[in-house]
Amino acid sequence: MSESVSTEKSLLEVNAVAKSYGALQVLTEINFAVPTGQAVGIVGPNGAGKSTLLSVINGTERATAGSVLFDGCDVTDLGPEVRARAGMGRTFQIPRPFTHLTVFENALSGASYGAGLYGKAADEQALHALELSGMLDLANTPAGKLPLLARKRLELARALATRPRLLLLDEIAGGLTEAECDSLVETIAGLHASGITIIWIEHVVKALLAVVDRLVCLASGTLIADGQPDAVMSSTEVRRVYLGSGI
Amino acid sequence: GSASSGAEGDSVIKIGYISPVTGAYAGFSDGDAYMLGVVREQFADGIDIDGTNYSVEILDRDSGSDPAKAGELAQQLITTDKVDLLLATSTPETVNPVIAQCEANATPCLTTLAPWQAVVFGGGFSADKPMAWSHHYFFGIEGFAGVEPSAWDQVETNKKVGVLWPNDADGGAFRDPATGYTPFAEEAGYTIVDPGAYENGNQDFTAIISKFKAEGVEVITGVPTPPDFVTFWTQAAQQGFKPKVATIGKALFFPATVPSIPNDLGDGLAFTTWWGPTFPYESSFDGTTPEQWISNFEASPDGADLTWNQATPENESLFEVASAALQASGNPQDKAAVNKAFDTINMMTLAGTVDFTTGPLQGVATIPTAVGQWQKTSAGEWEWVVIENSKIPNLPVERSIEPLN
């Protein structure tokens, strides 16, 4: 599978990206490219810089050095809203719902702006996103009343509503029961099959492995492994810093 | 509203009275409860005009020291309550908006207790464009500038005068090169040192003090607000600035300011005054003299916790003048006639003579002023004495001014 993918052009290119907060270096010289249509999983110890990398990709955080190319364009200096409209959808590890809006309106926000739709088309896109993430039954609930996991699902719904070409997921499977996790995996696999490029950070490795074509391991701000999921999983370094003996 | 005015409307005169009972300028009106009691008693039997007895209804309103509210109230009194005459008092903030509404709604209006320049020029009027429906009496800049230099003359100085003129209605009027204070002072041989307009609420007068020191200023005058003056005067003492004479308007109108200045620094401050116990005035209502007024006031329950001030009798005089004009009009419900009647007023009141026949401008009358000086008695009481009377010759002068030490 990866052979067929590698011939395609890269949708996302991260070149020599570094990020630091004051003296604290969080990312050092990250280089990686994601071809269109690929599903990449990111694993790594806590605090490795995974979420930060996602933020740098979608523009929520500015890189201190390096550049980010999306669909061949340099987006390093563009804000997250521009990147969202260009086709990057993102979920936040710690959910950030619009608490006074209903679940539907949360999704509508993404559909109207990220996907740039108006009127009926926006409504339909938002409903579609709710269906995909299994939230239709909560559509009229104010997001502030949702419990934690429903908020995480709402993150997914909103990101999907922007009709992304590149979907950036940050720990969306944690806390799900097995059955729920299976259906989530099915959903993501479906999105992947429909051609959406996916970058997925997840500690529930099992879920990740069911979808991704490629696995990346980040530790202390650098890529320590990148490649076929099986290969990465069996790398001793990855086992040592991340997986432990358990799996 | 409309039903009641129809029934007995003919024999009732409605007078609106707007003053700042609350808010920043409430001090001007704190004796009004007593004053209105006295006035209502005077009007209890109504007034006879051309053989008809009219009962008098006084609608007193509180502007809250807020110009917007004052304007609103004036409009309400005119359009809803349909008053025959509006009175307003105390600072341009209350007076000007009331005049504006009266002018716009063609209703006669009588006002006092605001420098007349601030009222006339500040309200957009002039000699060419006089007030059509309003009459105002009070002293203006000449009330200060006409008497202060003769008080300064009583002390040997280098004739350099530092001024505290803030950027507000009063300060602006004082600073005006043509109609302001400077021409008077210069005529009397004094040089004005104006550091420039400062903002009310200024916390640091260092620059102004340095300028006064650098210029060798020996006389201070101005119209600062009470807190600003205390700040200035305290800082001046801290920074070693000691003028020989200080005549301060506005801030010292109120009897509470001087005793509050730290370390008895208020001792010897002088100020322009228009009323006090020894002033040779009497009420046209019943002949009450200032001295009687004060003792009545202090004995009444309404004046119990208060110290008398110069504003209350001034406010009272509005009703004396109004009553005289209504009588002179022949028909108190004919607004034009009432308005015209004011032009003929020349009378003695509790607050002195009001003379609209010889004012500086149409509709403006000035009242004379004197200069008083604060002193702390050996008993530790604060009191003030008259030290200059050139404009009110009948006023007894207690002594000449004592320089600040």
């Binding site: 209903t102 990220g114 | 000007n96 716009a104």
Partner: protein, 347 residues
């Protein structure tokens, strides 16, 4: 549990109710516009204050309740609107057109000021806007033509008091109508969703493609223009500004906060209710002097603590009515889907 599909639902925007609200409002406005002919103009002219109070409350609510910008500096634009009347009046426009032109000028001033204000968030923003208002006042009083610290009056205005009051009345009413229409339309448009998203979480809003600063800037400018128009009305009604301190007074902001919170923040109806309450209280009780103010303060505290959603919020919660619906509701199309599937279906 049957799986739900998007196709079985449609989005209800309460079109019928919105249309009805529009119709009824239009009728009310026509009635109000005709009122001076039917009633004593003296009575109707006292409503001018009510109109500008509703305008102010509505605009502040748009700013704070929907866009999350809690400003205590709207008096900057009230004052500029009032002074704008002088400027354009002096240039030869009549007072009423000056009000409209001034609002455009104020919009042009508010836009660059937003760049300063938007550096700040939350409590910082509130204080920052207050300081901006102070600075604006301090700059205005440096102009002698504008009366410096003294204030000034309108040089040319309609001489006849009846007509002047009528024109001012219609101007105030027109501005009120405009403010309500703009707010209602804005909130029903897609920008309404954007605004509320920004209010609830800016970072997430940006990640969803919303141009946060542009959206906020638009609302900030509209609110400034609304305040400016209200300020012009205040100035025209008083035939001038008696004191710059008053027209730039922070108490305007205080009363806007009071009206909006008493009525119910984040609803269109709330500020109207709040403004009416404040107007009535002011009309009947302001002559009670200080006790009235003490009670006003107490009322503000009590309503905040015991009726936190305001009066309209409480009515809405209890009777579930909303006169100006701006929300979305998902309703099943096919009748075989049990309505119980959708919780809170009738929010």
């Amino acid at each position: 549990m049957t799986t739900l599909t998007a196709a079985s639902f449609r989005v209800d925007r309460y079109q019928k109710r919105a249309l009805m609200a529009g119709g009824v409002s239009a009728a009310i406005f026509v009635a109000l516009a005709a009122a001076p002919y039917l009633l004593d103009p003296a009575i109707t002219s006292s409503w001018i204050k009510l109109f500008y109070l509703i305008t102010l409350a509505t605009m502040w609510n748009l700013l704070a309740g929907y866009a999350g910008m809690v400003s205590v500096g709207q008096q900057a634009y009230i004052g500029l609107g009032a002074y704008g009347v002088f400027v354009f009046n002096d240039l030869g426009f009549d007072a009423y057109s000056s009000a409209l032109i001034a609002s455009i000028a104020v919009g042009a001033i508010a836009l660059p000021l937003s760049f300063v204000a938007f550096r700040l968030r939350g409590g910082y923003f509130a204080i920052g806007t207050w300081v901006i208002a102070e600075a604006v006042r301090q700059i205005i009083i440096r102009f002698d033509e504008l009366g410096a610290g003294r204030g000034r009056s309108i040089s040319t205005y309609t001489g006849d008091p009846v007509f002047r009051n009528l024109f001012t009345y219609w101007l105030a009413l027109g501005i009120l109508a405009l403010a309500l229409i703009v707010t209602f339309y804005l909130l029903r448009s897609r920008m309404g969703i954007a605004l509320q998203s920004i209010r609830d979480n800016e970072v997430a809003a940006r990640a969803l493609g919303i141009n946060v600063s542009r959206t906020k800037r638009i609302v900030f400018t509209i609110a400034a223009m609304g305040a400016s128009l209200a300020g012009s009305v205040i100035c025209i009604q008083a035939i001038g500004v008696a004191s710059p301190n008053q027209i730039f007074s922070v108490s305007y902001s205080a009363f806007m906060i009071f009206m909006v919170l008493i009525g119910g923040i984040g609803t269109i109806e709330g500020p109207i209710v709040g403004a009416v309450i404040y107007f009535v209280m002011d009309f009947y009780f302001s002559q009670l002097g200080l006790w009235y103010l003490v009670v006003l303060g107490l009322l503000a505290i009590l309503v905040t603590l015991f009726l936190p959603k305001g009066i309209w919020g409480a009515i809405h919660e209890r009777f579930n009515i909303s006169l100006f619906p701006v929300g979305h509701r998902i309703v099943p199309i096919a009748d075989h889907i049990p309505t119980k599937v959708l919780s809170n279906a009738d929010v």
